[in-house]
């Protein structure tokens, strides 16, 4: 089985980091994984996205043009990528930042107020991991245990204080 994931939002929302975590979660479960960022001159506030593939077989092209799972953290990303999701795919929307609903009826849409939840939990920079937690719950792509395990590899030794915060965010999304 191969799952193609596209995560998109503004630069600074942790879109690339969320993708990296997902890739590590796949690695923890011995899956084949790839992570490919959009790269460009944009910094915070510009657009950012990354392609993540988790598979039981070797990954071919690392470029995701028709995702099985789309995570969007701003409106331009939903506008741009909604049409690309495969039939029967899943779209995860940060409903704090995106007011509109998913228009397609042949996909499953999930809405989670990740940004306001992050603010309430006192971890305002971790809306990305809240939405990843929700995605893990709804897709079963990896277990929440693997996800938490992966965080230990992703959060650098310099920022160990952030480990608990990330795990808190994952669980908040998972249990939403």
């Amino acid at each position: 089985m191969t799952t193609q994931i596209l995560i998109a939002g503004f630069g600074g929302q942790g879109v690339l980091f969320a993708g990296k975590c997902l890739a590590y979660e796949g690695l923890v479960e011995n899956k084949q994984v790839s992570w490919l960022p959009s790269y460009g001159p944009e910094m915070r506030g510009g657009t950012a996205n990354c392609s993540v593939i988790l598979s039981d077989e070797p990954v071919g092209s690392p470029i995701v043009s028709n995702p099985d799972v789309l995570i969007v953290m701003n409106l331009p990303s939903l506008d741009k990528y909604e049409k690309d999701v495969v039939k029967g795919g899943k779209i995860f929307v940060d409903s704090t930042l995106i007011a509109r609903k998913v228009e397609r009826t042949d996909v499953d849409a999930f809405y989670i107020p990740a940004t306001s939840m992050a603010n309430e939990l006192g971890i305002p920079s971790l809306a990305n991991m809240i939405i990843v937690g929700k995605m893990i719950k709804e897709t079963g792509i990896v277990t929440i245990e693997s996800a938490c395990e992966a965080m230990k590899k992703v959060v650098s030794a310099r920022h160990q204080d952030m480990l608990d915060a990330n795990i808190k965010a994952l669980n908040a999304g998972y249990n939403y």
């Binding site: 790839s34 992570w35 490919l36 071919g60 092209s61 690392p62 470029i63 043009s65």
Partner: protein
């Protein structure tokens, strides 16, 4: 077995170079390969190596020339416009028969071009690039693991044959992360009695030079160098074949294009179409034999490239134009989709019967 870690292709090159015993890196930042320089800047001082950000690419390649002449493993890296600047130095290094690694993480061109992935430096890498009669061994990795593995291999081949070697990647390969295993490499010892490291007053001076004012002598060095190239063509050519044996259409692609092509082959096979892929791992020496062999049964070839069609000329040469060779391409930083490749396959099948 060492643990698998997620690394960017660029970082894997840098770490693999260190594992291969490279202790000298000279470069100048340019997207999309700057992570190599950044990684070296962090690591080299900790292991007694030298990282130096030169004032230009021209300067960096001449520093490489110097250290290579002293017989130490050395590298530089850049992206397309920067690699153009290095060409004079590369020609000198080739002319002086020195081992060195040059990495090109290609971006769209010509000119300053763009920063998105491209394969349009194929001609430059495989047909000389700089002036004079010379060649580089050119590796085209197609995964982060291969970025590491062929970096190590490149240092060995450079030392074994005394010549500059190029690792030709692209923006996608440099930026993507995949699991990679980086075991400690076995560092082979090569004879470096030619190096200029001081005579200790015990021997004649070694001279590193590419200037021969006597044409007979220059011709002789070129003849000798091409004997070496003939040996490399025999010994060092690498490629991967995927479902070629019964294929009616054979795709030819390297690097990122080969991964997209593999998706297209899998999809075509699902639809009952007999399609295969030949992936050159060395672009020079180019895998002529498997292409020649495939031309005996395949009805046509498609060169899949991120350029206006450069490798396609080598595909035509290798197959001696016995079969039609089509081009499936995007350029300027755009990337063909597996669907586009599949369409080319169907078009060719409808034309060749």
């Amino acid at each position: 077995m060492s643990e698998k870690v997620l690394m960017k292709g660029n970082e894997a090159i840098a770490e693999a170079a260190i594992k291969a015993g490279c202790r000298f890196y000279f470069g100048y930042p340019i997207t999309p390969q700057t992570e190599i320089a950044a990684y070296m800047a962090k690591r080299m001082p900790k292991i007694g190596g030298t990282f130096l950000q030169a004032e230009s690419e021209v300067s960096a390649i001449n520093m490489v020339y110097g250290v290579a002449g002293a017989g130490y493993r050395v590298m530089t890296s850049s992206s397309s416009p920067g690699v153009s600047l290095k060409q004079e130095g590369i020609s000198y290094i080739a002319g002086a028969d020195l081992p060195a690694l040059i990495v090109n993480v290609q971006r769209g061109g010509p000119g300053l071009g763009g920063i998105q992935p491209s394969q349009s430096d194929y001609f430059q890498a495989t047909k000389g690039g700089g002036h004079g009669d010379y060649k580089l061994v050119v590796y085209a990795p197609a995964s982060v693991q291969e970025m590491a593995d062929y970096t190590i291999k490149a240092f060995d081949v450079a030392d074994k044959y005394r010549l500059p070697v190029m690792l030709l990647a692209d923006g996608t390969m440099g930026q993507m992360m995949e699991p990679v295993e980086l075991p400690d490499a076995e560092i082979k010892e090569y004879d470096k009695s030619w190096a200029v490291r001081g005579t200790q007053m015990k021997r004649e001076h070694n001279i590193i030079n590419s200037l021969y004012l006597n044409p007979e002598e220059l011709e002789r060095t070129n003849f000798e160098r091409f004997e070496k190239y003939a040996l490399i063509e025999k010994e060092e050519c690498l490629y991967e074949e995927y479902m070629v044996d019964d294929a009616d259409v054979v795709l030819v692609a390297f690097g990122i294009a080969s991964r997209i092509s593999k998706n297209a082959v899998n999809e075509a096979r699902k639809q009952g179409l007999k399609v295969g892929l030949i992936r050159p791992i060395t672009l020079w020496p180019f895998p002529v034999e498997p292409l020649k062999k495939a031309a005996e049964h395949a009805k046509g070839f498609i060169s899949v490239e991120l350029s206006m069609g450069q490798m396609i000329e080598d595909v035509r040469l290798a197959t001696e134009c016995k079969r039609p060779v089509a081009l499936c391409n995007r350029t300027g930083g755009m990337i063909p989709s597996p669907e586009q490749v599949l369409e080319s396959i169907k078009k060719m099948l409808s034309e060749v019967k």
